[in-house]
């Protein structure tokens, strides 16, 4: 399924996330994942939104987002021109018979074991979303009792001599 990643710089004020998510629901756009974090400038936060490009043209979504007074800047990251990462935490059943297989799987994926119980392990993996999907699939037969994923964050791929961000036209005409 085609998706677009938008990184949206917003004013760091209460209610801004509600404005952004409310706009998506009101106009019928689907959010695939969403992550919010402060930036190095405390006046602003960055929202990374992955949108399902089939629900609406990305141009219309960005233009509508731009109309929010609290939205300062929007950059659209082409999937091929961005590095994307996501974090997964999962608690997996791991009794003495299966424990070594789970540990081996975590090792293969270069994940980490971050908590150990008598018959369960909590594991962590950061990586590309598709890699996390694979990891999740392979963990499932052991029995996942809890799983959390963060939603992806993204930055443009570093390319020399070309503009790094494709600025979305809107307020600048």
């Amino acid at each position: 399924m085609s998706h677009h990643t938008l990184t949206v710089l917003v004013e760091n004020k209460s209610g801004v996330l509600a404005r952004v998510s409310g706009l998506f629901s009101r106009r019928g756009y689907n959010i695939e994942s969403l992550a919010v974090a402060p930036t190095d400038d405390e006046r602003f936060s960055r929202i990374t939104i992955v949108v399902d490009a089939e629900t609406a043209p990305i141009e219309q979504i960005t233009k509508q987002l731009f109309k929010l007074i609290s939205v300062v800047k929007i950059s659209e990251l082409e999937p091929s021109a961005a590095v994307e990462r996501e974090l997964l935490l999962a608690t997996v059943r791991a009794d003495p018979q299966t424990r070594s297989q789970v540990i081996e799987l975590v090792g293969v994926f270069e994940g980490k074991i971050i908590d150990v119980g008598s018959d369960a392990l909590t594991v962590m993996l950061a990586g590309q979303p598709t890699k996390l999907d694979d990891f999740e699939d392979l963990l499932r037969p052991f029995g996942i009792t809890d799983i959390q994923r963060t939603g992806r964050v993204a930055l443009p791929r570093l390319e020399r001599n070309t503009p790094r961000l494709r600025s979305v036209k809107g307020k600048v005409g």
Binding site: S14, G15, G22, Q60, K63, K67, L68, K171, G173
Partner: protein
């Protein structure tokens, strides 16, 4: 200087040049009503908060200045939601102030608490909850700036009661600092040049003028463009008056109930010059078949409108007046215009063949609503302000009135808010006391907000209301007749219940009832002479009368029905007219 938040609020409104506001006090906004006693601002006490919102809209419609409404928390704020949404849809600058429960009580389900900012977020251009009295001047300044610039719209400021009672050090910000809000006003020079070239080469162009012309104060610029190029102009429901109906190039209103020539000219055009308009479904009909041969130049201050419905060939983000003025200069440079004699001749032929018309009343039969509007039009000064509600009467008013001046038409276009007319007319009269203000209202609409006539009487605001009483929710009745096999479901209201004359008199108005054609002119004459109180004239009109032309919902504009069973546009081949 130490001020309370309430004093700072009122002083901020004064600093913004507010001369009048519409409102109704209550628990949480109480502190703000005390300094109001010492203020130069006139406050008009409404009977329902929805009335305050529509009055603010009516005021803004005719003055171009932001209308201000102030109400309390909870139910008062929710009563304001409809006018806020109305103002949002029609891009009307409104600033709403609502009281909120004290900061410590927020989120506790306190008495008359509601999440005003959350509820109004999707129906305002912006809103803010003030959590610090020091922020009041800045937030009010920003609210007026946001409401009146770019694409205008409603802004709501929610103020907790204890913020109003706390003290702050007064200041007035020199400028607004909104890093995420910088509307583009100047058109892109290359796009303007491209537009001018398209215009010069077009053989069947139409200027599609929308409400943005009025918002941008661009009526004169539009006229200059039309006069320079000789291109005919259609004015949408929101743009009636933006280009004079009496101008030879004016084709009138397009859309679902537009006249045949305006609708069909767009269908056959090779170029649409869309100015401050948003390709609303009521104008385009089925989008896929709308103006199929036309290239589109689309000018709007809101970039999101460009390409939202129809992809423009030349998109221009900018203020309509600035862009049109730039366009006029570019068109002059572009050289000779293509020959459009045949196009203009075709339009003239259509106008002659398919004028707006209705069957006159039978001897002794009920009044024709169109005739009432024509009589009203002919008896009023040409700069009369006309407000309307929503439904058949609104369409007849937009069709049969003659709009020769901008800012003379006050109606609810996008949201279609029944009950808009009475309070909007009151707000308009407050804004332009020098003008005659009439509202054409339906009997269904009138019953929704008529209580504001008590406001008008007590405040001595002499508006005039013409009720076209056809005893039905007429537009719904029309659809049931045409599309539901005449199965009339819940549309009958009765002509006598309520008794409109008694009701109006009870609210301090002069009231008249008109049942026969010969009474129409004298009643209007009498109403026009009253200038110290509101007047209500109830016209008993023909309930079977329908609005034509009509493009059925979801149909193509080629299927415009000019009279029952008549769809002349289908027989006209596209793209062969020049």
């Amino acid at each position: 200087m130490k001020l309370t938040g309430a004093q700072a609020l009122i002083k901020s409104l004064e600093m913004e040049g507010v001369d009048v506001m519409f409102g109704l006090p209550g628990g949480c906004i109480l502190p703000a009503y005390d300094p109001l006693l010492d203020s130069t601002i006139r406050h008009i006490l409404v009977r329902h908060e929805q009335g305050a919102g529509h009055m603010a809209e009516g005021y803004a419609h005719v003055t171009g200045r932001p209308g201000v409404a102030m109400v309390t928390s909870g139910p008062a704020a929710t009563n304001l939601v409809t006018p806020l949404c109305d103002a949002y849809m029609d891009s009307i600058p409104v600033v709403a102030i609502t009281g909120q429960v004290p900061r410590a009580a927020i989120g506790t389900d306190a008495f008359q608490e509601c999440d005003t900012v959350g509820i109004t977020r999707p129906v305002t251009k912006h809103n803010e909850l003030v959590m610090d009295p020091d922020d009041i001047p800045r937030i009010i300044r920003e609210a007026f700036h946001i409401a009146t610039t770019g694409r205008p719209g409603p802004v709501l400021v929610d103020v907790p009661k204890d913020v109003l009672t706390s003290e702050m050090d007064w200041y007035w910000p020199d400028a607004v600092d909104l890093p995420g809000y910088r509307p583009t006003l100047k058109g892109h020079p290359r796009m303007i040049k491209e537009a001018a070239a398209l215009i010069a080469a077009s053989r069947r162009p139409v200027i599609y003028a929308g409400g943005g012309i009025l918002k941008a104060r661009a009526a004169e610029a539009l006229r200059a463009l039309a006069d320079l190029t000789g291109i005919p102009v259609v004015t949408t429901l929101m743009a009636r008056g933006a280009f004079p109906d009496s101008h030879p190039l004016c084709l009138g209103m397009p859309g679902m109930h537009g006249n045949f020539t305006a609708v069909t000219a767009m269908q056959h055009a090779d170029l649409l010059i869309a100015l401050g308009t948003r390709f609303d479904d009521r104008v385009t009909g089925r989008v896929g078949t709308f103006a199929p041969d036309a290239k589109v130049i689309h000018v709007d201050v809101d970039p999101a409108e460009l390409g939202k419905v129809r992809r423009p060939d030349v998109p221009i983000v900018g203020d309509c007046r600035q862009v049109i003025e730039e366009l006029v200069a570019a068109v002059r440079d572009a050289g000779a215009q293509a020959d459009r004699t045949e196009w203009i001749a075709t339009l003239r032929r259509w106008q002659a063949e398919y004028p707006l018309e209705y069957e006159t009343a039978d001897e002794g039969g009920p009044l024709k609503p169109q005739m009432v509007i024509e009589a009203l039009r002919d008896a009023c000064p040409p700069d009369t302000i006309l407000a309307s509600g929503v439904g058949q009467h609104q369409m007849w008013a937009s069709q049969y009135w003659r709009f020769d001046h901008p800012y003379t038409w006050v109606n609810s276009g996008g949201l279609g808010t029944m009950g808009f007319a009475v309070p909007a007319a009151i707000g308009a009269k407050v804004g332009r006391p020098d003008r005659t203000v009439w509202a054409v209202d339906g009997d269904g609409c009138f019953q929704m907000t008529a209580q504001e006539l008590a406001t008008a009487s007590s405040e001595r605001i002499p508006v005039k209301i013409a009720i076209l009483n056809n005893a039905y929710l007429g537009m719904v009745r029309q659809w049931q007749e045409m599309f539901y096999d005449e199965r009339y479901s819940e549309v009958y209201l009765s002509p006598d219940l309520p008794d409109y004359v008694k009701w109006a008199e009870a609210m301090g108005c002069v009231a008249l009832r008109v049942e026969s054609p010969e009474e129409v002119a004298p009643a209007i004459e009498k109403a026009n002479q009253v200038d110290d109180r509101p007047v209500v004239v109830e016209f008993r009109t023909d309930s079977s009368e329908k609005v034509f032309p009509m493009v059925p919902a979801g149909a193509s504009n080629d299927d415009v029905i000019t009279a029952p069973g008549v769809t002349p546009a289908r027989d006209l081949p596209h793209g062969t007219r020049a």
